[in-house]
Symmetry: C2
């Protein structure tokens, strides 16, 4: 048993119970006005009545009855709709507890649904993602997975792998007899197809990560180039939805903006410059670490100090690009409101050759060029262009399993090309199946299951 509704005071609170004995047990507490028993009730029916602990009236309630296997968990189940008072919930749970009903562990109802064959692991994990979805893209991806989109794709891969194994074995059996086997082209096509599909799933993780966790954007630059002003301007734009979430490390606060359905996590950094000051050096090292971890960097330059700073700027951008060739870098020329046209023209000319992916001119203070900056950010991480029917991998567990599957598949391919024995190739192909099976839960160690469902909320 577990409360299925959030903690706190509300109009109603729902207590969910699942197990072979829960309907009979609820009858001991529940009295319908007509004296009917829940034990006699059909599934998917609602019953109004009182909960009475001996003579004491605990609440007037609605009870939903579900019959195995037609329930969320696949077991007999009861949901009691109580008045939304924490006191009543506590009293009712105490009553059941005294009769041997145990509080459910986080995610235990969904885990039982999985163990009872109601859903595979990808669907079970999608339940948690769906509940946590805050944007349209998160909702869409979780819903696709909940509906079995990913599961069907994995089943399809599995079928292809079984066929591939058969073809490889046939090919190798005949190889010794020097017969050119007719289905060679089918084998090659299958292998390519499987690899392509697994690779596409792996690649989708970078998009999935953006959808699930947002895009980490570091704001970098020399001191006093306007980094904090830019951050504030971005946060104060009317169309931006601003939230503050605790950072994952060291209790830092990151500012999150949702632009056109994409979450951007902005990370301010300490100003970067040459210094002999020990404390400042530590701050700058930390800035570099944040910059390297970000998905995209906004590097600010001060238009009014262009000549003075441009050489160091060029060097720093080049260093960054050498270390992080795949990480997008936007150069933002700030304070354009105070620069005259001749200076801007000069900067435009000289910045064109800077090693940055885009150069944008802004005034953080006067909110000039901010809309263009936001468009550039959205354009680079747009996800809703993606095929709505395609699976996007958002779960790091799935990502690792897919990488392992691809690795084993590549080894099988190499072993096959090298003409190694069927036994050796079979081991590799079995590994591929095993890794895919881990994703759906067909082959999943118990401790992994515990770990997966521990991340759920209570009552699901």
């Amino acid at each position: 048993m577990a409360p299925a509704t959030p903690q706190g005071t509300g109009a109603i609170a729902v207590l969910r119970l699942s197990g072979p004995d829960v309907i009979r047990l609820t009858d001991e507490l529940f009295r319908s006005p007509a004296g009917k028993l829940l034990t006699d009730a059909k599934g998917y029916t609602l019953h109004y009545g009182e909960l009475r602990d001996g003579e004491e009236l605990l609440d007037e309630v609605l009870v939903s009855v579900f019959r195995a296997p037609h329930s969320y968990t696949g077991e007999d189940a009861v949901e009691i709709s109580l008045h939304g008072s924490p006191y009543i919930m506590q009293r009712v749970m105490e009553w059941f507890s005294a009769r041997g009903v145990r509080p459910a562990r986080p995610g235990e109802f969904t885990m039982r649904a999985f163990l009872n064959g109601k859903m595979d692991l990808t669907r079970a994990e999608a339940v948690a993602d769906l509940i946590e979805a805050e944007t349209e893209a998160q909702h869409r991806v979780a819903m696709h997975q909940l509906r079995g989109g990913f599961y069907r794709q994995l089943q399809d891969l599995r079928r292809q792998l079984v066929e591939l194994t058969a073809l490889m074995e046939l090919e190798l059996d005949f190889a010794e007899e020097d017969v050119e086997f007719a289905d060679r082209s089918r084998l090659t096509a299958l292998l390519r197809n499987i690899k392509t599909e697994i690779k596409r799933l792996i690649d989708s993780f970078s998009q999935g990560n953006v959808i699930k966790h947002g895009v980490a954007v570091a704001i970098a630059g020399a001191p006093n180039t306007g980094k904090s002003t830019l951050l504030n301007t971005l946060l104060n734009e009317e169309k931006a939805i601003v939230t503050h979430i605790p950072g994952t490390t060291r209790d830092t606060i990151e500012d999150v903006i949702t632009l056109q359905g994409i979450r951007f996590r902005f990370i301010d950094t300490a100003g970067i410059r040459q210094t002999d000051d020990h404390v400042e050096k530590i701050g700058i090292q930390r800035s570099f670490r944040k910059i390297n971890e970000a998905r995209l960097v906004l590097w600010l330059a001060d238009a009014l100090r262009w000549d003075e700073q441009k050489d160091e700027l060029r060097q720093r951008l080049a260093d960054f690009k050498t270390r992080n060739p795949d990480q997008p870098l936007f150069l933002l020329i700030n304070k354009i409101d105070a620069a005259d046209e001749a200076l801007l023209e000069k900067i435009r000319r000289e910045s064109a050759s800077m090693p940055a992916d885009e150069v944008l001119f802004v005034s953080a203070k006067h909110k000039e060029g901010i809309a263009r900056l936001e468009e550039a950010l959205v354009r680079r991480f747009r996800t809703d262009d993606a095929d709505a029917g395609a699976t996007v991998v958002t779960n790091i567990r799935h990502y690792h399993a897919l990488r392992n599957a691809l690795q084993s598949l590549t080894e099988a391919e190499e072993a096959f090309a090298a003409g190694l024995s069927t036994d050796l190739i079979a081991v590799d192909l079995r590994d591929v199946l095993q890794h895919l099976g881990e994703i759906t839960g067909e082959i999943t160690p118990d401790d992994l299951l515990e770990h997966i469902f521990n991340n759920f909320c209570i009552g699901k």
Copy 2:
């Protein structure tokens, strides 16, 4: 429509809709796997299916269907059990909103239940009390009221009043003819009975207030007598349930302990002594205000400084008792762990004549005598000895209406005794009925209704 579950992320969230068109409208969003329509469903049934906004899948849900008049509001009603994601709730509410469904005001469902004759006001108000109940006594009183206990009592009073009116009119009609009317004794008995019952209800309010709001206990005394130590000791007792609630005034925090089902709100005060310091004087004035507002005062004295402080102490206690003769005052002799037996004997002798309701010896630091103090507190405010079937008035609105009813009844009695005309007495008796009718909602102005239901939570 309104969410019926608390805000936040949980396993499920329930959206409640009520009105003549909601079942048909939900059919436009809902698709059952078998293509069945909710419009064809019986009341008290559950339906599994999808919510689809056009082609977009919003969620997989359970829908409860209720048919007028067999629903909470008395109207057709639907409850949709969604996955507990704020995003999904928002999307679904937006869908209904675009089709003219309005978010419910706080308490609107219960207000409709009242307006549709499903419950009177005392029961409607009990719903809000029940949801907020945190102790057994609060729960018991709210449940009694929800079950119509108070309502039946008021109906009974009403019947007696109607009979009384008839008897008074008869008596007055015959008075002019100098006939001794036979039912005079019946009239007197009725009048006494009604008065007694209304008085009992009014008196129960002081107990009801304790049940609903807890007992405000001020901790007073000279500086350094151990007031804060006592508070901490009380809060740290294992058996005490400690909660922190924001005070009703000036954002002060009061510490609440529930002892044997009774809530005590402890209020620490600044030390009281003679002083010329302006700022300290203000603090002491504030202490006096808190002490005067409390239901009970714990006045601490330092055993080790007894001789030095006893005269001022006696004077202060006497002053307090003069100003607040009905307010219980406990004198606590603190620091007894450091006092020798001779000193304690002396204090025992001298404190016996102090103007305090109880004298208790404690060591706040060493937790001596604390259990006895708690027992003394509980004994004075015990409520569970009260007849479990009796109505306890907890609502200040009911309290005022009862006081007004008693006032009008007294006026009717006096007018009758003075032999005034039937018309005049009828006005007074109609006032009594009017005041009682306000409690049940039979006679209630619209703006009062708004005010009552505004205190409800959303979704109820």
